[in-house]
Symmetry: C2
Subunit: 211 residues, 2 copies
């Protein structure tokens, strides 16, 4: 299976860590976003939304979108389980994962779109006021995460799940390219982040390079 | 099972339509958002994010978040299938559902947050420039949907799925409370919307009132 990827892009990184947890080998294919390779007619056939990651199966069928790809990988390789086992656990992990996306990633995304790197590209009109509001929401959410991680080892409870991958890739993206890292005083969040970053899956995924 | 609901709120509506498709009866409980009932300590025990819908099981356990609740309902009542059958179909429907959320609902949400009704409430500082940008993105997305619905009966292919519920509730919310309806010239989108709105599940869900 091929995974269309670009170095540093946070959403393909989610899939790479997920696949590494399950020891699934993916052939990484470079989709050069600087050259707008994700907006070519050929790529839009694979994903009409013009985004990465895309998983291309050996028969040529494509699955776009990071969580959809992870769900496919969970179906074909159920262990270790990362989406939950029974109906209630599956729903609880999904709720957690989606809340992190809606309440954290969404705000990080707004700060990114209205931040200096995107402004330099000149593709959209940036609104500094929108970035300021989202920066504040992100800071508030870090505080909430820190409190929650004082109560549990992982973000959706006692074991590592897809929600931890979603959060780690979001916090790392926010901290680096978006320039809004957690406050160092959030020691529970820092403890969780160090532990999760130290997992073999994260280290091996981050060492992979698309060709 | 109880579902915490508020009249006109689009996310509980998603769950009500989904449950009606499966003929699952839910006891609707009024969560009076005008009175900030979703932000009380008691409600935050059910959902720390302070949002509706929340599904409360008969044993008192709670599941927040509309799609997580729908997935739980699909687990306990698999037919009619709304999330996909095999691994590839499940991933494809999930990708479609999430793209509609990320590319359409997200923009509608920004237009709502920075629109006149929220401004009147005075809870957040509205940014008219952010609303203008999202209004434009929504108009562009309607054009794409219209083109796609010229090719297929439903939004994720040949049959009705959760992605149609996500899209219908988003288009209806955008058209009414947010004030950004589709252009009447989008005849394929209008055809799809009329057909989906006419389903018994939608009619019966919309007739339910929380008490």
């Amino acid at each position: 299976m091929k995974l269309y990827d670009y170095p540093g892009a946070p959403n393909p990184r989610r899939v790479k860590i997920f696949a590494a947890e399950k020891d699934i080998q993916l052939q990484l294919v470079m989709c050069d976003m600087r050259q707008r390779a994700h907006k070519t007619d050929e790529f839009l056939q694979k994903n009409p939304s013009g985004k990465i990651p895309v998983l291309e199966l050996d028969d040529g069928r494509c699955i776009p979108e990071s969580v959809a790809i992870c769900r496919y990988l969970e179906s074909i390789e159920p262990e270790p389980n990362l989406f939950g086992r029974d109906a209630f656990e599956q729903a609880s992990i999904e709720a957690r994962n989606r809340h992190i996306e809606h309440e954290f990633w969404r705000e990080v995304g707004i700060s990114w779109v209205h931040g200096p790197i995107v402004a330099q590209l000149g593709l959209v009109k940036t609104i500094p006021e929108a970035k300021a509001a989202s920066d504040k929401n992100v800071a508030n959410y870090y505080r909430r995460l820190d409190q929650e991680l004082s109560q549990s080892a992982f973000i959706a409870g006692a074991r590592f799940t897809i929600a931890d991958i979603t959060l780690l890739t979001g916090v790392d993206f926010a901290s680096t390219l978006v320039g809004i890292p957690p406050d160092p005083s959030h020691s529970n969040l820092a403890r969780w982040r160090a532990e999760v970053s130290d997992r073999p899956s994260v280290k091996s995924a981050d060492a992979l390079v698309p060709t």
